[in-house]
C-alpha cells in the first residue's frame, strides 16, 4: 500500500521540482510555430496516467474500484492514441513544404 510518509516524499518533491524546471526550460525553447502540436503532445504524454490506472487495477479491489479504473483506462487510452496521431498529422503538414532556401 502507498503512503506519502513511507514513500520518499522529499525525493518525489525533488523529482517534481527538477522536472518542472526542466519543463520550463524545454518549453521556452519550443518553436512558436509548433505550440498547437506541443499541446497535443504534452497532453498525450501526461496521459501516462494510463499506467496509474494499471497499477490500481492490479490490486484486488471492489467492483466500484474496478469500474472507476476501467473508465479511466478507456479515457487515457483515447487520449494517448488520438494525441500521438494528431500530433504527427500536424507536424507532417509543416514538413510537407520545406523552406526553399
Amino acid at each position: 500500500m502507498t503512503s506519502l510518509i513511507t514513500s520518499d516524499l522529499a525525493t518525489n518533491l525533488l523529482v517534481f521540482l527538477l522536472a518542472t524546471i526542466l519543463g520550463q526550460e524545454l518549453i521556452r525553447h519550443v518553436s512558436r510555430l509548433l505550440h498547437t502540436p506541443l499541446m497535443a503532445l504534452t497532453n498525450a504524454i501526461s496521459s501516462v496516467s494510463f499506467i496509474a490506472a494499471l497499477i490500481v487495477l492490479s490490486y484486488p479491489g471492489s467492483s466500484t474500484i474496478t469500474l472507476l479504473v476501467t473508465v479511466a483506462v478507456a479515457l487515457a487510452a483515447t487520449n494517448i492514441i488520438s494525441g500521438f496521431l494528431i500530433t504527427d498529422r500536424i507536424l507532417r503538414m509543416f514538413e510537407r513544404r520545406k523552406p526553399k532556401k
Binding site: 503512503s3 518525489n12 505550440h35 501526461s46 499506467i51 479491489g61 494525441g83 523552406p99
Partner: protein, 461 residues
C-alpha cells in the same frame, strides 16, 4: 521481468519524454520528438504490465479497444479548424481519468490511508474534477454548442469562491475523518460546479488562455496522482505537461496584456462594449473595389498578409495562399504576420496556414515582423481585427490599450478585407479603418480573395 528492470524502463521513458520536448524546438526534428514520446509511452506501459499483475485482463483489453475505436478517428480525421475543440476534449478526458483513478485509490486504501496522502489525493481529485467540467464547457464554447459570450451574474465571484471553498472544506473534513467515503461524491460535485461556473463566465476571445490554463491544471493533477502512487514517471510527465500549459498561458495572457486574475474573474468581452464610440461617430469609412486593390497589389514589391480567425471561418486560407503564389510568381516578397493569439489556441494560425501549404519560413511572429511594416508596400488583413488596432498603442481610453498589436498601420498601404461595416466581435472600433492609407474592401473573405487573384492575374497578362 523484475521490478528493478521495470524501474530502469521508467528511467528510459522519462529521458524519452524530455527528449521529445527538446526535439520540438525545431520543425526539422519535431516528428522525431513525437516518435520519442510514443516510444517512452510504450516503454512505460510494458514496464508497468510486467511489474504489476493486472487481474481483470478482459476489462483492460476491452477498455483499450474502446479507447482505440474512439481515439483513432479523432486523431486521423479532426479538421485543423477543430483542433482547439479536440484539445479541450483531451484535457477533459485526461483530467477525468486522473480524478477517477484518485477516487479508486481512496476506496482501495481507505482503511490505511494517512492524512498527508489523503490531502494530496483530495487536492488531486478537486483539480481533476474542476478541470474536467471546465474543459467540457470550453469544448462547448469552441464547438459553438454554448454561447461564446461570458455568462455573468451579479456576485459571480462570491458564488464561485463559495463553491470552491465548499469543495476545499469538504476535503479538509474528509482528511480529518478518512472513513467518510460518502463525502467524495459531494467534493466531486462541488469541484465540477466550480469548473463549470468559472469557464461559463469567460468569453470566447479568451479561449486560447483558458485552454492553456486547463492544460496546466490537467498536468498538475497527474503529477499529484504520481505523489500518491509514489510513481516518479507520472510525477515527471505531469509536471512537464503542467509547465507547458503554464508557459503557454503566460504567453497568451501577455499577448492580450491581461493578467490571469483578469481573465478568470473579469468577464472581459462583456465589459468592453461600454467604452467604445466616443469621438468617432462622424467619421466614415472609404470602401474600395476589388479592382482598386488589385492595382495596388500589382505595383507592390513586398506584401505582408495578416490572417485572423475570421479567415478560417470563411475557409479562405487556400485563397490567401493562391494570391500569395500569384504575387510570388511576379517576384513579390511575401510574408505572413502571426499574432500570438491569432486563432483559437496557442499556435493555431500556424497550423491553419501550414495546412494550406504555406511554407513555414514565411510565417513571421509579431516581434520579428513588426519592424518590417514601415518598409512594406502592402499589408493585407484577412479576418483579423483587434490585433491590428493602432488604438492599442495610442488611445489610453481604449479597452485594448496596452495590448501588443501588429504595426499594420505603418505599411504604405493597408488592404483590409472585412465582411461588414459593423464593429468587431469585441465591440471595439478599429482606428485602422479611418487611416488615409487604408483601403477597406467589403465582402466574404474567400470571395474577395478569389476575385483579387483573378484581377491580379489579368493585369499581369
Amino acid at each position: 521481468m523484475t521490478d528493478v528492470l521495470a524501474e530502469y524502463l521508467y528511467v528510459l521513458s522519462v529521458v524519452l519524454f524530455a527528449l521529445s520536448l527538446k526535439f520540438m524546438s525545431q520543425v526539422k526534428t519535431s516528428r522525431l520528438g513525437n516518435f520519442c514520446a510514443v516510444a517512452g509511452m510504450v516503454g512505460a506501459i510494458i514496464a508497468t504490465l510486467s511489474a504489476y499483475q493486472v487481474h481483470q485482463t478482459g476489462l483492460l483489453v476491452g477498455a483499450v479497444v474502446i479507447g482505440a475505436v474512439v481515439g483513432t478517428p479523432i486523431g486521423l480525421k479532426v479538421a485543423m479548424t477543430a483542433v482547439p475543440q479536440r484539445t479541450a476534449m483531451s484535457h477533459a478526458f485526461g483530467s477525468l481519468a486522473v480524478a477517477l483513478v484518485g477516487a479508486a485509490e481512496y476506496y482501495q486504501d481507505v482503511a490505511t490511508i494517512d492524512p498527508a496522502s489523503l490531502s494530496v489525493l483530495c487536492g488531486e481529485m478537486v483539480l481533476g474534477f474542476l478541470t474536467f467540467a471546465g474543459s467540457c464547457i470550453a469544448f462547448g464554447k469552441l464547438q459553438g454548442l454554448i454561447t461564446g459570450r461570458p455568462v455573468l451574474f451579479k456576485g459571480r465571484n462570491v458564488v464561485n469562491m463559495t463553491v470552491l471553498g465548499g469543495a476545499v472544506a469538504t476535503a479538509v473534513y474528509l482528511v480529518a475523518n478518512p472513513a467518510m467515503g460518502q463525502l467524495i461524491p459531494i467534493m466531486a460535485a462541488l469541484a465540477l460546479l466550480f469548473g463549470f461556473l468559472m469557464v461559463m463566465g469567460i468569453g470566447g476571445a479568451d479561449m486560447p488562455t483558458v485552454i492553456a490554463i486547463l492544460n496546466s491544471f490537467a498536468g498538475l493533477s497527474a503529477a499529484a496522482l504520481g505523489f500518491v502512487l509514489d510513481n516518479k514517471l507520472l510525477i515527471v510527465a505531469g509536471s512537464l505537461d503542467g509547465s507547458s500549459g503554464l508557459i503557454l498561458a503566460i504567453i497568451m495572457s501577455q499577448a492580450m496584456n491581461r493578467s490571469f486574475a483578469n481573465i478568470l474573474f473579469g468577464g472581459f468581452g462583456a465589459v468592453a462594449v461600454s467604452t467604445q464610440a466616443s469621438s468617432q461617430t462622424a467619421r466614415t469609412v472609404q470602401a474600395y473595389t476589388v479592382d482598386d486593390a488589385a492595382v495596388v497589389l500589382q505595383s507592390a514589391r513586398s506584401v505582408i498578409f495578416v490572417p485572423g480567425y475570421g479567415m478560417a471561418v470563411a475557409q479562405a486560407q487556400h485563397a490567401v495562399k493562391e494570391l500569395a503564389d500569384v504575387l510570388e510568381a511576379r517576384g513579390v516578397d511575401v510574408k505572413y504576420a502571426i499574432h500570438p493569439v491569432a486563432g483559437r489556441m496557442p499556435g493555431h494560425m500556424n497550423v491553419l496556414l501550414a495546412e494550406a501549404q504555406v511554407p513555414y519560413d514565411q510565417l513571421w511572429e509579431m516581434d520579428r515582423v513588426n519592424p518590417l511594416f514601415p518598409e512594406t508596400d502592402v499589408a493585407v488583413v484577412v479576418g483579423a481585427n483587434d490585433v491590428t488596432n493602432p488604438a492599442a498603442k495610442t488611445r489610453p481610453d481604449s479597452p485594448l490599450y496596452g495590448m501588443p498589436v501588429l504595426d499594420v498601420d505603418k505599411a504604405k498601404t493597408v488592404i483590409f478585407i472585412k465582411r461588414s461595416t459593423g464593429p468587431g466581435f469585441a465591440g471595439v472600433e478599429n482606428e485602422l479603418f479611418y487611416l488615409p492609407n487604408t483601403m477597406m474592401v467589403f465582402g466574404d473573405a474567400k470571395k474577395v480573395l478569389t476575385e483579387l487573384v483573378a484581377a491580379v492575374r489579368k493585369m499581369g497578362a
